[in-house]
C-alpha cells in the first residue's frame, strides 16, 4: 500500500517536472437526493502552482464552490467524491477528519462569501483569530496568540486593531468582517488560500479594498490563491490564469490574457459579450445569452451548453467534448467541438451571437420632453433613540438629506451609490406618495403632498415599481395572472378585462400568456423578473421605478432583461428611475445619472458626462473601483481606493460629508481643507455636470478618470 503510493507519487513527479502545489484530477462530486442523485462536479481537472493566482469563474450552480469545498474536505458526509485531489503530492481524499483538520487552516485556508454568518457571533474577532493560531501551534501561549491576532488585524488594514480585536462580529461592517476572515485565513502562513466569492456581498469600493488586501496577503505569505467568483471583471484584474466552469465542468482554461483576448468556448464568448462593461457600455447593445444552465440531476448526453449555443451543430448533441488544448500552449484549453474553427477565426467570435435588433422607428412612442417627476430637497430623517428603559433621542439618521432631481418623459435617470447611501429610502419616500418630511415630490405635475386618498390611489396607476429580488417580489402563493393583475384590482377593473390585459402585458415582456395560470416557482430567475416588469406595466404607467432590477440575476440573464427594459421604454415612452449600485448597468441604460453619497446627491448630469469626465472625487473613486473584464485595461489603470467604510449616517460630519474619505481632500492645502471642513458644498455647474465639491476643478490631481 505504502509502496504503491510512493511509486505513483514518484511516477507523477517524473511525468511533471515541477510538482504542482494543488492538483485536482478528474474530480466528481455527487449528492444523493430523494429525487435522484445530483452530480454537481463532473470530472474537473486543474492545478495550482506555488505562488500562483488562479481564478475560477462560473454562474450559480456551476459547481465552482462545491469543488473548492471538496479540496478542503468540508463537503457533507453524504456527498460522494471521486477522482483525486493532491496537495503537495499527497492525496487528500479518504483522509480522516482529524487528519484533514491538521492541514486545514495551516496548509490550506479558505475565505467564505458571507462574512456575517461565517464568523461565530458569540466570540470576539480577536479570539477567533487567536483560535486559528492556537489550533496549529500548541506551544503558543494565549497571550502571544492574542498579540499576534492584533498584528494580523493590523496587516489586513483594520484601524485601531487593539480595540477592534475585542469587538464582536456584529459590531463590524461587512468589509471589516471580510478583512477579519482574511486575517484568519493567513494566520498560519498557508501555502494555499481559497477565496470563495469573497467580495460578492460587498460594494465596489469595499470590493476594491478587499481585493487589495487579498493581493497583499498573497505577497506576505507567498501563498497561491484560488479565487472563485462569478465576476469576470474581478478575475481580469487579479488572476494569472483562469478556469471557466459550466454545468459542473471546466469548459475553458488559460492565462487571463489569452482567455479574455481570444475566448474559444462559445459560453465564455457569450458571457463576455453579455456583461455590461464600463469600457464599452452605452455605445453597443448587450448581447443576451438566452436560456439557463441545465439541471444537473438528469443531463442529456452531449455538450451541456448545446441548448444555449448559437453555434451548435448535430455532433454537439451526441458526445460531450473533452477539454482540448488550443494551439501550443498546454495551459490553454477549451471544451468545444468547434474550438479549431473558432481559434483559427473561421468562425468569427463576434458573429456567433446575433446582436438583437433595436426597436424599429415605427414602433417608437412619441413623447413630449416634459418633466414627469420632479423631486426638490427631499428629506427623510429618522430619530436615533437610545436607552433600555427610557428612550431618548441621541441623534438623527440623515437617510435622505436634501435630494433633488427631475426625470423627463421617455428618459432614464440612474441613481447610483453604495449601499447605505440612502437611494432605497429615497425611492420608498417617493413611492409612498405622501407628504414628505421636507421638500417636494411632484409627479405628473401634481404635488403629492396635496393629494386626497382617492387622488393618490388614482395616481398610483401612473407610477409603478420593479423590485430587486424577483423571488421575493412575487407572492409564491398566487398564480401569475393574479400577481400581474393585482394592481388593476385596486382600480376597479372587471375580472374579464383584467385577464385580457394580463395576457397583453405578458406578451409584451416576452412571456407566453398561456403560462398565466402557473405559479412563480415554475419560472426561472429571468422570467420571474419579466413577470415583475409585466406587473408594473399592467396599469399603463408613465413612470417605472426600478430598484436594482438586475442585480439578483446571473450575469448571462442580465443582458436580456436590460434589453427588454430599453425596448419597452422606446415602445411605450416610459420614464425610468433606475436605482443601482452596478455602474456598468447604469452606463448601459441611463440617460442621466445622479450619484448619491450619505443622503445627498454629489454629482449629477448626463450619463455621457458623468462616466467620461467625472468631476466629483467620489464619482471618480467609484468608477475606478469598478472592475473591467479586460486584463489590459485593468493592468494599466490606477485605482483610487477609498479609505474605510461608508460612515454611518448618524455621524455629524461638518462641512462636506465626504471629506473623511476624500482622496482629494488630502491633496489640498490647509486653506482648501479648512473650506471642506467648514462649508457645506452646494451643487454647482462644473464642466457640464452639477457637482457638490469645492475643489472639483482640481479633481485631476487624483488619478485620471477611466479612459
Amino acid at each position: 500500500m505504502t509502496n504503491t503510493l510512493i511509486n505513483s507519487a514518484a511516477a507523477h513527479r517524473e511525468r511533471t517536472p515541477a510538482q504542482h502545489l494543488l492538483e485536482v484530477r478528474d474530480l466528481t462530486v455527487t449528492f444523493p437526493q430523494p429525487s435522484g442523485a445530483v452530480t454537481a462536479v463532473r470530472g474537473v481537472n486543474y492545478h495550482v502552482d506555488k505562488g500562483e493566482f488562479l481564478g475560477i469563474v462560473g454562474e450559480s450552480g456551476s459547481g465552482k464552490s462545491v469543488s473548492s469545498l471538496a479540496v478542503m474536505g468540508l463537503l457533507p458526509s453524504s456527498a460522494k467524491v471521486g477522482g483525486d485531489i493532491l496537495f503537495e503530492g499527497k492525496s487528500l481524499l479518504n483522509r480522516s477528519d482529524k487528519d484533514m483538520s491538521k492541514l486545514r487552516g495551516d496548509g490550506i485556508s479558505i475565505i467564505f462569501q458571507d462574512p456575517l454568518s461565517a464568523l461565530t457571533p458569540v466570540y470576539t474577532i480577536g479570539a477567533q483569530i487567536a483560535e486559528a493560531l492556537l489550533l496549529h501551534d500548541s506551544k503558543l501561549s494565549q497571550l502571544a496568540a492574542n498579540t499576534r491576532a492584533v498584528e494580523l488585524l493590523k496587516v489586513v488594514g483594520i484601524p485601531n486593531p487593539e480595540r477592534r480585536a475585542q469587538a464582536f462580529p456584529h459590531e463590524f461592517s461587512g468589509g471589516m468582517r471580510q478583512r477579519a476572515m482574511i486575517a484568519i485565513a493567513i494566520a498560519n502562513n498557508p501555502r494555499l488560500i481559497i477565496a470563495d466569492e469573497p467580495t460578492t456581498a460587498l460594494d465596489v469600493t469595499i470590493q476594491a479594498q478587499i481585493l487589495e488586501v487579498l493581493q497583499k496577503a498573497k505577497e506576505l505569505t507567498g501563498a497561491a490563491v484560488v479565487l472563485i467568483t462569478h465576476d469576470l471583471g474581478v478575475v481580469a484584474g487579479n488572476a494569472d490564469r483562469l478556469a471557466v466552469m459550466y454545468a459542473g465542468r471546466i469548459v475553458e482554461t488559460g492565462t487571463v490574457d489569452e482567455v479574455f483576448r481570444a475566448p474559444s468556448m462559445p459560453y465564455t464568448i457569450g458571457l463576455l459579450r453579455s456583461m455590461p462593461n464600463l469600457a464599452t457600455a452605452g455605445h453597443t447593445r448587450l448581447v443576451p445569452l438566452e436560456g439557463r444552465p441545465p439541471l444537473l440531476s438528469n443531463l442529456a448526453p452531449g455538450c451541456p451548453f448545446a441548448d444555449r449555443c448559437p453555434a451548435v451543430i448535430d455532433a454537439c448533441r451526441t458526445t460531450e467534448p473533452p477539454l482540448m488544448q488550443i494551439g501550443d500552449d498546454p495551459l490553454n484549453a477549451s471544451a468545444c467541438i468547434r474550438v479549431a474553427e473558432i481559434a483559427s477565426g473561421e468562425l468569427k467570435r463576434g458573429e456567433i451571437y446575433p446582436v438583437p435588433e433595436p426597436v424599429a422607428p415605427a414602433e417608437r412612442a412619441d413623447v413630449e420632453p416634459e418633466n414627469v417627476m420632479a423631486v426638490t430637497t427631499l428629506k427623510r430623517h429618522f430619530p436615533l433613540t437610545k436607552g433600555a428603559i427610557f428612550k431618548h433621542t441621541v441623534g438623527i439618521v440623515r437617510a435622505v438629506d436634501g435630494v433633488s432631481f427631475e426625470i423627463k418623459a421617455g428618459q432614464t435617470l440612474g441613481l447610483v451609490g453604495e449601499s447605505g447611501c440612502g437611494k432605497s429610502t429615497t425611492i420608498m419616500e417617493i413611492l409612498e406618495l405622501a407628504k414628505p418630511q421636507a421638500g417636494q415630490v411632484i409627479i405628473n405635475g401634481r404635488d403629492v403632498a396635496t393629494l386626497s386618498a382617492k387622488e393618490r390611489r388614482a395616481l398610483r396607476q401612473d407610477i409603478q415599481v420593479v423590485f430587486q429580488d424577483p423571488m421575493a417580489s412575487l407572492d409564491p402563493r398566487l398564480p401569475v395572472q393574479d400577481i400581474v393583475g393585482e394592481p388593476l384590482t385596486v382600480h376597479g377593473v372587471s375580472a374579464k378585462d383584467r385577464l385580457k390585459k394580463v395576457a397583453d402585458v405578458l406578451e409584451l415582456v416576452g412571456l407566453d400568456p398561456s403560462m398565466a395560470s402557473r405559479y412563480p416557482h415554475e419560472f426561472s430567475g429571468g422570467q420571474r423578473q419579466r413577470i415583475g416588469i409585466a406587473r408594473a406595466l399592467v396599469t399603463d404607467p408613465k413612470i417605472v421605478v426600478l430598484d436594482e432590477p438586475v442585480s439578483a440575476l446571473d450575469v448571462s440573464i442580465q443582458a436580456g432583461v436590460i434589453n427588454l427594459l430599453q425596448d419597452l421604454q422606446e415602445k411605450l415612452g416610459l420614464s425610468y428611475l433606475f436605482v443601482a449600485h452596478d455602474l456598468a448597468v447604469v452606463r448601459q441604460i441611463a440617460d442621466n445619472v445622479a450619484v448619491m453619497y450619505l443622503g445627498r446627491i454629489v454629482e449629477s448630469g448626463s450619463a455621457e458626462q458623468i462616466f467620461e469626465n467625472p468631476q466629483h472625487p467620489y464619482t471618480r473613486a467609484l468608477l475606478s473601483a469598478v472592475p473591467v473584464p479586460d486584463p489590459a485595461i485593468e493592468r494599466s489603470r490606477t485605482r483610487i481606493i477609498l479609505d474605510g467604510d461608508l460612515p454611518s449616517p448618524t455621524e455629524n460630519i461638518s462641512g462636506c460629508n465626504f471629506r473623511t474619505r476624500c482622496p482629494l481632500y488630502r491633496l489640498m492645502d490647509e486653506a482648501g481643507q479648512k473650506r471642506c471642513a467648514t462649508d457645506d458644498p452646494e451643487p454647482r455647474l462644473v464642466g457640464s455636470t452639477l457637482v457638490a465639491c469645492h475643489h472639483a476643478e482640481n479633481t485631476d490631481l487624483m488619478a485620471p478618470a477611466l479612459t
Partner: protein, 327 residues
Amino acid sequence: MIGFIAKRFINYAILSAIATLSAYVLASIILNPASRYLGRNPAPSTETINSILDGFGTNPNTPVIERLWAWIVNLVAHGSLGNTIHNTSVISEMTARAGTSLRLLILGTIIAAVIGVVLGVWGAVRQYKTSDQVISYASFTVLAMPSFVIGILLMITATTLNNVLGIQLINFTGEYTAGLEGGWWVHFWDRAAHLLLPTISLTLMGAAGYSRYQRSAMLDVLSADYIRTARSKGRTRGSALLRHGVRVALIPMSTYFAYSFATVLAGAAVTELVFSWHGMGEMLMQAIQQSDINAFTGAILFNAILILIAGTLADIVYAALDPRVRV
C-alpha cells in the same frame, strides 16, 4: 447589559403585578365566599356572614375595586396578604408551604435543563440515527402524557417494585414519613426518599420539552456557516460543534426556559397534588374549592414572583451568552 436586564426586570415586575391584581379581581368576581357559610346548621344570619366576610375583605357587597384597593393598601402598608378562611395569615400559610414547593421545583428544573440540553445536542448531532430516534420517540411519549399520568404511573411502578422486593424501598406518599423517630440524618434520608418520585416526574416532563427544543436549536446551528469556518481553521467536526455550535445553540434555550416556566409551574402543582404534598399547588387548589380569595391571590402572587425570578434569570443568562444584546 445592565440596562437590558433592568428593562426586562421592570417589564416582568409590571406583568407579575398586573397578573396578580387581575387574579384577585377575577377570583373576587367568580368565587362566592359566602357559600361556605350558607350550608351551615344553624344557618348564620346575613349580618354575621357579612361581618365575617368584611373581616376578610371579601364581602361581595363591597365593590370589587374597593376591595382591591383595600387589599393593595393592606399589602403595601402592613406587608400582609390578608387571612385565609381558616383565620391564619396567608403569608404564614405560604411560608409553611413554599419550601416544599421550591424544593421540588428547583431540583426538578435544574436536572431537567441539564438532561434536556445534553439529550437535545446529542439527538441533533446524531440526527436520524438510532439514538436520536430513541430519544425523540421517548420525549414525544412523555410529552403526550398529562403530568398526573406520569405521577401515577411512577407510583404504580414503585408499588410493584416494593412488592417484588418485599421492602418499602421507595416511599412516595407525602413529603416525609409521619412520626418517624431518629436524628436529622434519618429525617434527611426520609425526605430525600420521598422527593425521588416527584422529582423524577417533573424532570421527565421538563427534560422531554427541553430536549426537543435544544435539538431543533442545535440543528439550526449545525448547518451554520461559522461551523464550517471553525472547521476550516483546523477544528475537527466534533470540536467545532462543541466549541462553536453548542455555545450558540444555548442562546434560544434561555428564552425558551423563560416562557416554558409557566408550564413547569403548572406541572409542579399537579405533581404535588398527585403525591399528596402540602405545597403551593394544594393551597391554590383548595383555595378555589373553598372560595378563599385571599389564599388564592397569595398563591398566584407566589407563582408570579417565581416567574419574575425565572424570567430575569433567563434574561441574565441570555445577555451573558449573546453579546448582541449587551448594549
